[in-house]
Subunit: 351 residues, 2 copies
């Protein structure tokens, strides 16, 4: 059905129906129906023939037809209390859900554990079986070349949150990570810090580059030389933040402030500092990004950068829905504004 959707005009083979399977297997559609639904009273040889035809034709029952003719919906609801403090993915979920509700669409989820050797097969099954019109891809999923290619083949439009790479007919949402990082670094410089450590994130995320560049720009503007030993690689995980902080604090002239590219790594930095008995913020200031729940619960509470993630996810999903409706939605790169949240993990240096 996706081959009729504007603006795509490519021609795909129509998916096989129960009639195609019946013909291929030399039985009636009712017998195919029995096999699909695992009903009893089908001879094993007949069952085998039908299953072979299903396999050969890559047949998938049309869910809408089953629902319309049958007595079931094959749908389960999950009704839950939306926590007031939620993490990144939950915010994305809430924003996308909001846009879908407003646009009359249903949102279906495919959580992926990475790395995943069957990634493409999993995505293909999800898209085909669920009969999707479009897909929202948060970072870093939106940068996977093979997923982009698969969706292009299937003529499924997609929209991405904070992608790193460009694609044709882009529908993207970003926030001003670079500027936010610039301002955060400026804020620390304003408190007297001249030795500023920086822990980078996973390079697959666009935010990693942007945040690093904002840091460098603030240093340059304040005419503070950028020392490479003050910059450590991380992977956005708590453990990687701890390891990076260890390296920074082991320097013979360690930084008086450390900016971690997300809150989990900032928490790792605080953890490492505590194990060394360092006073925060008197001996070491620590800042993060994302304002996740841990930022306000850790002691001392974390200075961090808040992104309007719910709004970003809602906006990008709305763009996608408008495109699905046939509106001419131009390739866009809308950027949202982040805000610094100052808490007690940062302060004037006392060294």
């Amino acid at each position: 059905m996706n081959d009729h959707r504007p603006p795509h005009d490519g021609k795909l083979d129509k998916p096989a129906t129960i009639f195609d399977v019946a013909k291929a297997a030399g039985v009636s559609i009712k017998t195919v129906s029995r096999v699909i639904n695992l009903e009893a009273n089908v001879r094993q040889t007949t069952r085998d023939k039908v299953n072979a035809a299903i396999e050969a034709l890559s047949y998938l029952p049309n869910a809408a037809a089953r629902v319309l003719s049958g007595k079931r919906f094959y749908v389960i609801g999950l009704i839950y209390e939306n926590p007031s403090e939620f993490s990144y993915m939950q915010k994305v979920l809430n924003g996308a859900l909001k846009a879908c509700e407003a646009g009359g669409y249903t949102l279906l989820l495919l959580p992926l554990t990475l790395p995943n050797p069957d990634l493409i097969a999993d995505v293909r099954r999800f898209v085909s079986q669920s009969r999707l019109d479009g897909v929202v891809l948060p970072a870093p999923i939106g940068d996977f070349k093979d997923i982009q290619q698969l969706l292009a083949e299937l003529l499924i439009p997609f929209a991405r949150i904070a992608p790193k790479t460009e694609v044709h007919e882009d529908l993207n949402i970003r926030c001003n990570d670079e500027q936010a990082s610039f301002e955060l670094t400026q804020y620390l410089i304003g408190q007297g810090h001249r030795q500023l450590g920086f822990i980078k994130g996973d390079p697959i995320h666009s935010a990693t580059d942007h945040r690093f560049k904002g840091y460098l720009r603030a240093l340059a503007q304040a005419e503070i030389p950028a020392h490479s030993e003050y910059v450590e690689d991380g992977m956005f995980s708590f453990e990687s933040g701890k390891a990076a902080a260890r390296a920074l604090l082991d320097l013979k002239d360690p930084p008086t402030a450390i900016i971690a590219s997300n809150d989990d790594m900032a928490a790792g930095t605080i953890f490492e500092a505590r194990e060394r008995g360092l006073a925060i913020p008197d001996t070491l200031s620590v800042a993060g990004f994302d304002d996740t729940p841990i930022a306000s619960r850790i002691w001392p509470p974390l200075t961090t950068v808040r992104q309007p993630i719910v709004e970003m996810a809602e906006a990008v999903t709305t763009l996608l829905i408008r495109r699905l409706r046939g509106e001419k939605v131009a390739s866009t790169e809308e950027a949202f504004t982040c805000h610094i949240v100052t808490r007690n993990s940062t302060g004037p240096t006392r060294r």
Copy 2:
């Protein structure tokens, strides 16, 4: 359609179709279709008549019919990386998703912000519009009488996670909260604590009672008198934990260990202790429940209790699906086992 599903045999009015609306409005079904789809070229008076009929009949378009006859699915996919450390609701989501995938069902989400004056209207719209077969209700949503009643009216079976109250034809999953709390308290007693503070959770959750009872049982077995001033009420929030800890630590003979009924309140307790400069665990031991991400990221890392939430959600959703299939699934109260995770926030008392 739900009125045909076993084991229910109640008769509900069939929902209105486009034909009913057309007849009531005195137009053709095509005109109704135009109004529904907000197409142009319908006279305003006609549009008004149709909308009045739609309103009067509480007409909702049948999604399956739209999909089957049309070129759209009205479905958006969200493909995302499943974080390795996730919070309670995300675990529930993963478990339910897994069971639905295995059973050939689709999972739809309704996040609710509480308190919500339109709760019942929201749930009713969700259930009707999405044409659900069944619903999974995590605590505390599963204990709301009016939701139970609504679902009973609509003949929608449901299954609940950790409910507090009983209902007819129950499908429930629990874990052995009481025993876990007993063992956690025993563990602290074993480390020499005799003054054990306890912070209760939100009374709407069944876990609140169970965890408190386990604490009392361990005290009784060790022949330690239970002092009411060592027990504070909380609401499972970080702030409520902080407030409760403040009250406990203000006692002239404060506890040497505090058990909070969840990790957020334990984090609040640690926060309060830090503000007073108390050494953890030397002066004060702190333990929580749930093993949420914060438990391993806070300093010192938190002794807590891990529930197999993914498995519980998967099991209860599977039970529901089996019942939807017509299998005789008896009312059940399956209980899963929790495990204590000991970390550095607890230790022998040094006072």
